[in-house]
């Protein structure tokens, strides 16, 4: 009786050994250890006099290196403290709150993502249906992505600002500029993915071009669309942050990064980077979640 119970109940060791818990924990721990270790030499320029003054022992070295007010590389617990202070101890609508800045960046990310997705799908539909566009438009689409976004972002912001467009929209347009590309490429592939037999079938029904598009090409392209959207939403976030950098934006993750580097607040930079990473993974997860729902509705074998 007790034997059976112990056999069926997984022990801590077996959970660690079988699942992904152990590998994940090892990677996280290793990263944190390397981070702590790296903080010592990285901060050496600032800490050397203080360490000497404190006595110069091993313990003094560590405690001084990991508790500088303006370190070159903050220790993980300093970043955590910064995150705690800016997320949980301030109302989220105050500019001192990191959540406020997250929301500013997130809103332009989402708007840019929606615009970019619509543009990307529209271009793909046009390219698939008009042969000439494939030759004439595609080189420009590819060329558009070879220009460093950092180089044209200020121009876009300035030009749009001169016609009175400021705030959310210019930033979103930069996100859009980055994220339409994977959508176009993926959707051109997806919309042309039906095999000749399925297209012939539509021909025997004398189906119109739009019937072929909505009943055959579009459903065939859905898996391609979601793969593209995962890439697109991540780079939409990058676009929104980049758009905040060169323009002296007052709010957003990009503004946080810029402010942090002006005033040597590296904790603030790291906290903003972690916030961006969390948002990015959350958004990619969300797209993946919707993808799984769509796949289930479309009868995909699971």
């Amino acid at each position: 009786m007790t034997l059976a119970a112990t056999a069926s109940r997984p022990t801590l060791a077996s959970v660690l050994a079988s699942g992904s818990v152990l590998p994940v924990a090892i990677i996280v721990l290793t990263t944190i250890l390397i981070w702590y270790a790296a903080a010592v030499p990285m901060n050496k320029v600032l800490t050397q006099p203080l360490i000497d003054a404190a006595g110069g022992g091993f313990y003094d070295t560590l405690s001084v290196s990991w508790s500088l007010p303006r370190p070159v590389l903050p220790a993980p617990h300093q970043v955590l403290a910064e995150l705690w202070n800016t997320v949980f101890t301030v109302e989220p609508w105050r500019p001192r709150s990191l959540l406020y800045h997250c929301w500013v960046t997130l809103s332009s990310t989402l708007l840019g993502f929606v615009l970019g997705t619509l543009l990307g799908i529209g271009l793909a539909i046009a390219i698939v249906h008009v042969k000439a566009l494939n030759r004439s438009l595609m080189p420009w689409i590819i060329a558009s992505q070879t220009i460093p976004i950092l180089a044209i972002a200020p121009m876009i912001i300035v030009v749009l600002g001169s016609i009175g467009l400021t705030g959310l929209l210019p930033k979103s347009l930069i996100s859009m500029y980055l994220c339409f590309f994977p959508v176009t490429i993926g959707m051109v592939k997806g919309l042309t993915s039906p095999d000749p037999m399925q297209l012939d079938l539509m021909r025997t029904y004398h189906a119109s071009t739009s019937q072929v598009l909505w009943k055959l090409r579009w459903p065939s392209a859905v898996p391609f669309l979601f793969t593209s959207l995962k890439v697109a939403i991540a780079i939409a976030l990058v676009g929104a942050i980049v758009a905040e950098l060169p323009t002296g934006a007052q709010a957003g993750i990009g503004a946080r990064l810029l402010n942090g580097s002006y005033y040597g607040q590296t904790q603030q930079i790291w906290a903003a980077l972690i916030a961006a990473a969390v948002m990015s993974s959350g958004l990619v997860w969300l797209v993946g979640f919707i993808e799984r729902q769509a796949a289930r509705a479309m009868g995909t074998k699971s």
């Binding site: 037999m197 019937q211 459903p219 009868g299």
Partner: protein, 261 residues
Amino acid sequence: MAAASVIEARDLSLTFETADGPVYALSKVNLTVHDGDFVSFIGPSGCGKTTLLRVIADLEQATEGVISVNDMRPDEARRKRAYGYVFQAPALYPWRTIERNVALPLEIMGFSAGERTERIQRNLDLVNLTGFEKKFPWQLSGGMQQRVSIARALAVDPKLLLMDEPFGALDEIVRDKLNQQLLELWGRTKKTVVFVTHSIPEAVFLSSRIVVMSPRPGRIIDVIETNFPKDRSLDIRETPEFLKVAHRVREGLREGHSYED
């Protein structure tokens, strides 16, 4: 006396221009298919049997000669949706359930929702697949999937059914069963069927007329009438009459090859 002709081809030729020079897929083909016929095209690969079927369906266009389908040009017939086409593979849409796959041509041709439901039921019943409406294609065997594609072709109630090696990818046991079912279906619905195959027993068992074809250039070398009873069963394949017809088909195929190779 003779039934009205559904398909009429006169001196039909089709040449594909390729990088390696012209390929004569069809050469001077003359053919008449009457209303209610079950006609099989048989021949080795490359003899143009599928191409001929595709010309009838307006999926390819002949380069020379005349062909009429229901007294129309093939493109007109296609626009009037005069035929149902069954491909080598079921070509079901994986994201549609069985009933919605059968509904596809009905949706495209603008049938009302009530009419669609009625036709889905009737045609799934015709291929013995009642009860599988809500399944997705991957949940069905290959033979069942091909039956769905037959139901889909029949859903719009065309007078003419064009079938391109529909059972070619199935194993022999399933193929026998489907041959029997197809024959019953033909007897019941009185459709005209044009059937492409490379199996001699299949062609002889199913057809009222067998068109033997030969490659390079693709042409008709023999047309054989069979006179088996309409309610024949698979056992007929053991009879001397059956073997005689099969022998003549085989001879024809061999002859077509004799001045090749």
